[in-house]
Point group: D2
Chain length 308, copies 4
Amino acid sequence: MAPQGRLAGVIPPLVIPLTNSRELDVESLERLVNHLIEGGVDGIFALGSSSEVVFHTDRMREQILETVTGVVAGRVPVLAGVIDTETNRVLEHVKTAQKYGVAGVVATAPFYAITGPAEIERHFRVLGEHAEVPVWAYDLPVCVHVKLSPHMLVALGSEGLLTGVKDSSGDDVSFRRLTAMNRAAGSPLSVLTGHEVVVDGAYLSGADGSVPGLGNVDPAGYVRMHKAFVEGDWQKVRTEQDRLAALFEIVFQPVGKTGPAAGVGAFKTALRELGLFATNMMSEPMTPIEGESVEKIRGILQSTGLLK
Amino acid sequence: MAPQGRLAGVIPPLVIPLTNSRELDVESLERLVNHLIEGGVDGIFALGSSSEVVFHTDRMREQILETVTGVVAGRVPVLAGVIDTETNRVLEHVKTAQKYGVAGVVATAPFYAITGPAEIERHFRVLGEHAEVPVWAYDLPVCVHVKLSPHMLVALGSEGLLTGVKDSSGDDVSFRRLTAMNRAAGSPLSVLTGHEVVVDGAYLSGADGSVPGLGNVDPAGYVRMHKAFVEGDWQKVRTEQDRLAALFEIVFQPVGKTGPAAGVGAFKTALRELGLFATNMMSEPMTPIEGESVEKIRGILQSTGLLK
Amino acid sequence: MAPQGRLAGVIPPLVIPLTNSRELDVESLERLVNHLIEGGVDGIFALGSSSEVVFHTDRMREQILETVTGVVAGRVPVLAGVIDTETNRVLEHVKTAQKYGVAGVVATAPFYAITGPAEIERHFRVLGEHAEVPVWAYDLPVCVHVKLSPHMLVALGSEGLLTGVKDSSGDDVSFRRLTAMNRAAGSPLSVLTGHEVVVDGAYLSGADGSVPGLGNVDPAGYVRMHKAFVEGDWQKVRTEQDRLAALFEIVFQPVGKTGPAAGVGAFKTALRELGLFATNMMSEPMTPIEGESVEKIRGILQSTGLLK
Amino acid sequence: MAPQGRLAGVIPPLVIPLTNSRELDVESLERLVNHLIEGGVDGIFALGSSSEVVFHTDRMREQILETVTGVVAGRVPVLAGVIDTETNRVLEHVKTAQKYGVAGVVATAPFYAITGPAEIERHFRVLGEHAEVPVWAYDLPVCVHVKLSPHMLVALGSEGLLTGVKDSSGDDVSFRRLTAMNRAAGSPLSVLTGHEVVVDGAYLSGADGSVPGLGNVDPAGYVRMHKAFVEGDWQKVRTEQDRLAALFEIVFQPVGKTGPAAGVGAFKTALRELGLFATNMMSEPMTPIEGESVEKIRGILQSTGLLK
């Protein structure tokens, strides 16, 4: 489905376990990585938003990358997020990532400082020219506050400067335009969706795969859905997606939390309840989910068949 | 598919033809309505955004409703938009609409003045209690600047105060939550999507039908897609949607125009090129599409098989 | 200070008293109008946001205008808001307003439907050409979701199509550019600020006056501040403004309310506590402020010297 | 004016000169720093938005800080921006800044990841507890996409965790509330405005000083305005501000550029035309201002008396 040498299928964005003192919990990470690979995933995306990437120091980022690539040990390709404000800072992360043999790097448009279309295109162009591994564009307006233009993405793809797109734009109309333009250009880009509960619709729109944060909790479910898609069994795709959408309700349970404190926090809590993580600790300045919200998350894990 | 007495299928939001002096062009309107009904649509939504509803005086709105219901003559149900800023003004439009035997009225949340969740719920509650016809909620954050809560919609549906939702929110994650909550509540609501190019994904998500502006231009295409959906032929759904998505590119051709001046303007231009409209005139303060953009729209009509 | 024939000074946007059954309370309105005129205001702006204009039916709007102009009886000029979504609808309100001998009409840019700069300019141009009374532009991005361009405003002012601007944009940088451009063009526009707590800074920036919602509660305070400004007594300007800013804290007291339900609601509550209004009732779908918030508003009225 | 040991007056956010190959231009930087100090500024803010801080690698940031503090050599206090996405990353910058004897560090709320009020407060609390120098909060919603709450700022100020605020929020209503709350709490915070063209209004509102990017170009003008403010000569304050507002028009001349590419770019261009900078080069992915825009900037420098 995806272009030669490109990624397709299920590539979960890794959630990172912390100890109670907010250090990297290597054992839990090892359990999670094995859980994903045994679930059949096609790749792992480390240092994305689900990894709380912007919360970590450079040292911690590198420690995560070293640990993840060590545990994965080549069993599946690893993509590395190189999320930072502007070109020169991103290039530093690219250099670090390349030391660990990653299959590609994933970069957003510049953020914090306001930039226009010319600067955004130049940013990805510079990254594409300097990186020694494939570059993926990460479209995430909720964090970056700008929407990537399908025209620009496909143009840079055609020039060989971009390899793929992780679309978390929440703009399904633009997503269909992107896949159509990409197809018309000979499919230079792998196009993956980051929206856990509408992967089925994204497949209809032409997605090559998904990067579902919820895939940390139930990788096998996403893998079954992808298989059904490849086999053209849309009824099965839909049924699996409906179950995963019911599971995704865990992120709406935390009270008084928003953003990753709610979403990633819910994934961590579920992973702890499933016995994969030792804690559901979050990076500063976030605090872990507690109390009744945990019970509600347990209840959803049970009703969707993941917990007895 | 839809609950007893509720609407499902293809219900295009009517585009309104104007003469060069910006009067209602009754003949063209008659041609369009017949074009839709012959195309097999399941209903017609008059006085929505595609009807330039907020551009018209009350007198013109009533003239449109009188003409449309007269031409339709009971062949399909007609929904009427009652779009206005706040509850009391909307109720005035409801009273007018009821005079013309409409099958339902379609209202947004309050706009212009800032209101919170309590006021929005009370607004729909008052409408539901006072209207003598079914009330539909229109979720259109791009105009109303607020997103309707799935919880509230389903709760009001369960109380019998709302009959359906036209979702043009551009939020496919929320849309899936809405259909899931609706199903869990016994499907009190008909749920229709307003996004022309992802109706296929909306069907997977549980939509009962669509309200596609582009359905003015190619009603038969949307009807074929809906039939394929009912028959479970997803490959055909997808193929038809891909063709319609290619047709939708007409709205991106106008240069220097935005909003309805581009979108509705492109529909009107296409309808003129197809011989259904006499002009592509727009309401003040908009101006019609001219020059090279018209040629590009013609080209797309040809490449998608609507024009020779 | 203001150009020949134009308004300057203090022109409060009228708050409209309702009975408990949400009818117009004519007696309270009479008391308020007299309170304002006795306080020394230079004009009255009826049917602005503070009048809950978008909440009223056309019939109610006309009743308000008839009552207000009747009670004012020529003692000060009356401006009338003609707030509606698009050009043709606004022109209907202009015609109505003209029947009541108003000194000018106040219009926003188009809202609800998305429009670009060309449509916004054409909108004001059509209004300026058709209205028989001076047209004021109302810059209120929080409701209209677009910011008026200083360039466009001054250009239309120079052509005689606009007479003044009520700036509630919350953009003090743009406000200074507007006054500077206006001055450079020979001051075709009266420029008034709508921000109650920074009128002093607006004077420094070149404002001709203010349209303070809080001026319903304490017109004399705003009049004293304006007099001090005209006399160049900046220390007095500042002291008065600081007191009025302390009074403005009443709008932050309501719990669980936002927009006019909080702001206009607080003004109405204060006017009731001061004995000018019989109720603090709000238009549907808003509800009046109750409970502890009322006590807090009373406390602020006392600490700022308006209530014993 | 400002609390004991706190900063007041004019503290320009340093613009950073680059060579044509985008290295730090130490000679030009030296000229600029001396220009500022000779102009009479009360402090220098390095590594703020005007320093293109988020465009620089950590190495470059440290080089800038080392150079600036070396050239300043204790003649005025130096504040250092510690701008980064989240708490742990910001703390790394705090540690670096402390090595260079800065008088304080300036931090924004977390950005990129969505955080709520609890996380924002915890973020500043952690910074205040860990930093060995005073911490300033930088309120910059246009970049950070969140507005800091005056309540929170004053509360943390009262606890000794924050020393001051640089307000670039563009929200003059909130600014007045902040200064009023601060005064009511015994003025624990120094409050500075970042808006170059309304410093006079900010003084009326209770500001202790300003952090004007334009102060790189004309430090003496801002110093004269501050002196006039301290002396209570408001007419002089206003006249000086009007001239500086006319000078600020340089940032609106660049065509096709936005954000720092326009604003900081215009400052750099002016500094080059004034002979202080060797180039007007910008950080990747921005490009310098060229062509007619440069001529327009020269024209404004001439008409405002800075260039012959």
